[in-house]
Each structure stands twice: as C-alpha cells, then as structure tokens.
Symmetry: C2
Subunit: 289 residues, 2 copies
C-alpha cells in the first residue's frame, strides 16, 4: 500500500457537497498525486473538471477506482452501503476504502466484509450545509472541523495513518471513535435535533390548520428552529434508518425532559420550571465555550 | 385624548431591547412630540439620552408618566403585570396604555381593570434578539415586522387608531388579534420551539454525561437548534407561566408527532418515516414562502 498521500491517487465517488468539497480541498492544496471523480451524471464530472476540483472524471465506478490508492465514498448512507460490496473485485490490493457517511455502525460492518487485501476506515466529517450538490461545494468546507475516523479491528496502523493524512490535508481535525460511540453521539447532537424540528413543524402545521394566525406571526426564531426540517430527505431517511436504536434512545431522553417541563407547567410550579430552564441555559453556555 | 401621534408625549417604561428600540425609532423618525424614558437605573436614562433615543429620562414612574398621552410598558411580562395596577392614579384622563409583552391574556385582563377614563390596547411586536438590554437596541428593530394589537371591548376607535399610528410610525405592520388567538399562535411558533430547545439541551446534557464525545462532535447544526435555550430566563419564565394552557396544548401536539416518528422508527417502517419527514419538508417550504 502507498502510505504517502502525496503520491496517492484519490478516487472520490459522489461529487456533491461533501465529495466535491473534499476534491476541491485536495486539489487546491496539491495534497495528493491525482484526484479522480466518479459521478452519476457526465455534466457533474465536467463541471468538477472545469472548477479544477478533479484531474479526471468518469461515470464508471470500475474505471474510476481501478488505479486508486484511496477510495472515498461520498454519497448518502444507503448508496454507500450498496456500493461497498461491489468494490472488492475493482480495487488494487492495499487500497484504502473510506467514506463520509453520517452513521457508522452499518457502514463499518460493510467495510469489515471487504476482501482482506484491502484496507478500510470509516469516516464522518462534522460539517455540512442545509443545501447540497456540487454547486455549493467549496475547498474550505473541512477547515477546522472535527472529522471522525472509525478504524476497524483489521485496520493496519499504516492505513489509519494514511486516513489521518487525508483528514489533516483538508484542514480538518481527526478524532478516533468506535462506530457505536460515534452513532450514539450523532444521534444526540444531530439526529435528535432534526427529529425534533420535524415534529415541531408537523405540530405547528396541525395547529395552524385551526388558526392560520400561527403562520402570520412566525418570525426569525421559528425559521431558525425549523431549519433542519428542510434537510435533504433521502439523506435523512438513510441516516435515521441506519441509526434507529441510538436515535430511539435519544428520543426517549428528550421525551423525559419534555415530560418534566410539562409537569412543572401543569402544576404551575414556577420554581421547578425555572430549574429546568436554568439547567438548559447553563448546559448550553458550557457546551458552547 | 390626543389622537394625533405627532402631538403626543410618549412615555416608555423599560429601556431594554424592545423599549430602547421603540424610543430610538420614534425619535429618529420624529414621530411624536416627546419621548420620555423610565428606567430602573439612572445610567440607563443617561445613556438613552446621549444616544438621542429619548428627550428626557427618569427613574420615577409617577414623574415619567404624568404628562404622557401614550404609555408603553416595555418590561418582562411579570413586571408589566405588577405595574399596570399602579397606573390608574398616575395618568392623565384619556391616556392610552399599551405594552410589548409576549403573552396577552393576563396583560389584557389587567389593562381591562384600569379606570374607565383611561384607554388601553395590548401589543406584541414579533421581533427580538437573543441578546437583551439598551446596548443592543436599534431604531430599525421594528421595520417590516408584524406588530400584534389586541384591542379590549372597552377600547375606543380613536385609541385603537392612535395605537396603529404608533406601530406604523416605527415601520411595523399592525395585525389585530384577540388575546386568546394571539396566545395560542405564539405558544405554537415561539414558546413550543423554546421548550423543545430546553428539552433538547437537557437531554443531550444527560447523554453527554455518559459519553463526552457527544459534545466534541457538536457542530453548527446543534448550536443553531439550541440557540433559543439561551434566551433570557426571567423573560421566558414569565412568558411560559402566563401562557400555560396554550403551551401545554402545543406541547401535546409535539408529543403526538414525536410519538409518530418514534413508532415509525421502532417498526423500521421506512415508508411511514419518509411520509412524516416529507410532510415537514413540504409544510416548512409553504410556511417560509
């Protein structure tokens, strides 16, 4: 395996926001020998080439990954899961397979089933936007962000080192985490907020059906609180369906907290209510430090 | 009663974000004859004078409102409720009393108990910031915003006209609404999002206690989703405690929606889950149009 990123050919499968930005960052920083882009549509490859995000583009997965030292799967989780089992016969021995999917348990299990001659590390950069596609990709997307790496038991130190180099090359900070811990953490700080935003919008929509004044009064606070409900549907469906157990646990936690607030309101217990509001106020201040 | 805003002396009680911005807008637009500010601390009066937000400032409520044609109460809801009953003996006959409090049922009931010689209209401008105080006040805060007016049965057409003039003078759009309808609407689009943010922060905090990785991974999405949990505590306590019934109804609606999402996840029912996500996606797009 080629352990030096500078000499590596990196194939990025999927040239949307995440893949396009990764290609852009690697190219802008001359971090590797060659960036090959694989996209479903020819026009995406052409655009990525014109933007100098990639050296070469193709719609053919086999052709795109054939010479790769590193393959980065940058599609929605469902497509990553469908693609990993196809890779075995297509890759050079020693090639490192990684991904940018938002849940890691199912993907790492799929990576673990790759032929022994290949290397694999799960990945999840903690960045993104509410918009998607190559048109919003930018070489600075990863700068200063946490980029989770989930090594498998079979991952060699050299492969992990190469994955680290890739992360650091685009300006991100690698954080090693087991897939299970990663999935529980993102269930809490990412999938739970999304789920609450969906519930909020659907609840307000039901209330607004009996009085449209609701919507006339909605201001900036409501817009911000519900922003996540506009996330890409296919992406979120895959994320939630591959992280059901941790999300259900987090949802349970949120319902317990909602029950506490409801109870204090029901009883008109100002002191109990203030204690809950104060706790959240303090927790957020500490978190955001 | 003086029905022409241009000739009116306006006393604003409370020179924080809302009151300070109202004073600033009236003064900048030369919308009335005189703006008197009433604040607890002398330094606030002095600063408001230096900024030319007010013509005169005082810490004495009786002195500040004695010559007023319009009194605007711009404090947290609890202080408004404590102040209204004191006003009767302090005001000129025909003086219009209004407020900027975020809930209207309790305040309108208090206004309704004022002496018959006074006029009263409840008010709630749909603007604000997560920060508070005179230092963040600005003359443009109300521009283009919805400003709810809740006339009482006893409100004269002239008094309502004067309240409308005040709202329009600061660039806002008056929307007439009964107190009950207002309170149900803001429970849904404002107090429910706040309550969900509090529950989210407290739930994540509990989950993070068993694995601090949660907080290390928290990115911009989490910061935005929880922003409301950092709202001013006294303000939110008063708002929630004076809007318990509508908020409990809205909370129930949110829990029903959370239950639906939980059920779809539990059963692994992708189609049911997608239908809920899609509904929220569509609702939000329609709302934000």
């Amino acid at each position: 395996m080629n352990r030096d990123l500078a000499d590596a050919t990196v194939a990025i499968v999927g040239l949307g926001l995440m893949g396009g930005s990764l290609a852009a960052a690697l190219s802008a920083r001359h971090a590797c020998n060659r960036v090959v882009g694989v996209a479903r549509r020819r026009v995406t490859c052409e655009t990525a080439r014109e933007l100098r995000f990639i050296d070469r583009g193709t719609c053919d997965l086999a052709e795109g990954v054939a010479e790769a030292d590193i393959v980065v799967l940058a599609m929605p989780v469902g497509e990553i899961l469908a693609t990993v089992p196809l890779l075995g016969p297509l890759l050079k021995p020693g090639c490192l397979v990684t991904d940018v999917g938002s849940t890691k348990h199912a993907i790492c299990a799929a990576l673990d089933a790759l032929p022994a001659a290949l290397q694999a590390v799960g990945g999840h950069p903690m960045c993104g936007k509410e918009t998607s596609g190559l048109s919003v990709a930018e070489p600075t997307l990863y700068e200063g962000r946490v980029y989770v790496l989930c090594p498998l038991a079979r991952t060699s130190p050299g492969a992990l080192g190469l994955a680290r180099s890739l992360v650091e090359a685009v300006g991100a900070r690698p954080v090693l985490l087991e897939a299970e811990r990663h999935d529980h953490a993102v269930a809490a700080i990412s999938h739970l907020p999304y789920t609450l935003a969906v519930a909020l919008v659907n609840a307000v929509s039901a209330l607004a059906a009996s009085d449209p004044a609701c919507l006339e009064l909605a201001a900036g606070g409501y817009r911000d609180s519900t922003r996540l409900a506009s996330s890409d549907l296919q992406m979120m469906r895959d994320i939630l369906m591959t992280n059901r157990e941790p999300l259900l646990e987090a949802l349970h936690g949120a319902q317990v907290e909602l029950g506490r607030l409801e109870d204090a309101l029901c009883r008109g217990d100002t002191a109990a209510l203030v204690a809950l509001l104060q706790a959240a106020h303090n927790h957020r201040r500490e978190m955001m430090r």
